[in-house]
Symmetry: C2
Subunit: 247 residues, 2 copies
């Protein structure tokens, strides 16, 4: 059986915590990880504060196979992700020679001044490798098991597309969904019994509320198709056994 | 000057980490906290795993004035928030007498069986008080500085509306936004100087990328209107000084 590969994520930015910007990257990373068989185990959203970022990086990189971060890699004073990740790894945060040359040439070709602020985007922890940014040039970076990417969704998604082919992927967690017209109060008991009978599955129950009525989406997950099919059939039989929902 | 009041949040649920459900509660809590002058400092998304929930609850409740949780309070086997929060506080998780009686009467009036699963929704840490749920009856609860609420957005929002009037609120963080037609590389340097000149403000720079061009939203935050006005004027003058953006 393939190893279980796990991931965690840190979303960096005061603007998410203030509500000004609504995160769009967590859901995207979750979808991509699920698609390639990596279990996303935890996400933290932290402010633009070095101590908080360092603590979160060190907690999560020790805890999961991969750690992905978004945000804080631009050229302004509140972009402190490169410094914070360097500190977490105990290495200097230097200008990366290749990133510096690439940005310098890019701005020279466009007749734009290569300001101190723009130079900041070439800084990364010593020993890091680039994550190419096909949208706006300034690279993300990878050090150890940590992948540092942009917060702007279009750039994050492009960077992640460049990262994914290099990841070890796990055996994909297969899933089957059973629609249940009843609320959780009706099915909670028997569903728990099915979970006990199929310990190699994860059975989730997701209550939905619409127009004054509850219904439930029941999701069975397993790494084996055979186990999945058996457990999903048991869930479907349980729902069918409840008969039609009274009006 | 009023105290600084802080908050943190734990979003509980495998379905968020798998991407199946896209969280809608983080942004709502962030907006509400900002509106009432409470600083949201950290958010964690954790799986339906008791050890993980207990660890996150104990880490965050010690760190911020308030901790809000969403998810995992329904009647199914994967709804383990009440047990986990009880464990975090070191108290038993019992049937709450009032919640039990309320749910029992509710189901009796509708001729619905009060199943073991439904009874689960009456369980909460000993000593907790109810958070009323006007949507679907089953209450959330408050213990210490922790507020445990539903994950279904309509219910979470209704519960939060019931919680907010009882919170200590801080001096609201005022904000002013300056639209900047230039990307961060252009304004990063001078903006950092303005931040240094106004240490009692938080100046954020939020890059936007649209149709191949960058622009930036510059947000100044401060607790004093006077300081805010001065710093925002400095930012506006900096942007104006850059002249019109070349085509």
């Amino acid at each position: 059986m393939a190893d279980i590969i796990t991931a965690s994520m840190i979303v960096i930015g005061d603007e998410i915590l203030s509500g000004r910007t609504k995160d769009k990257n967590i859901g995207h990373l979750a979808d991509v990880m699920t698609a390639i068989g990596i279990d996303l185990k935890e996400v933290r959203i932290v402010p633009d504060d070095e101590d908080e970022i360092v603590a979160a990086v060190n907690a999560l990189r020790a805890h999961t196979t991969y750690l992905f971060t978004t945000g804080g890699i631009g050229p302004t004073h509140d972009d402190i992700t490169a410094d914070s990740v360097s500190k977490a790894f105990g290495v200097p945060c230097d200008y990366d020679e290749r990133a510096y040359a690439m940005l310098e040439a890019h701005y020279a070709a466009r007749g734009i001044e290569f300001t101190e602020a723009r130079k900041r985007m070439a800084r990364m922890p010593r020993g890091a490798t680039h994550i190419d940014n096909p949208v706006s040039l300034a690279p993300g970076f990878n050090i150890g098991n940590v992948y540092v990417m942009a917060g702007v969704p279009a750039i994050f998604q492009a960077m992640l597309d460049n990262v994914v082919p290099g990841l070890k992927t796990g055996q994909k967690l297969l899933s089957a969904t059973v629609h249940c017209p009843f609320g959780e109060g009706t099915i909670g008991g028997p569903l728990g019994e099915i979970q006990k009978a199929f310990p190699d599955t994860i059975i989730g129950s997701y209550p939905k509320y619409l127009d004054g009525a509850f219904w439930t989406e029941l999701v069975v997950r397993a790494r084996s198709q055979e186990v999945l099919d058996e457990a999903a059939a048991a869930v479907q039989a349980m729902v069918d056994g409840l008969g039609p929902k009274p009006d």
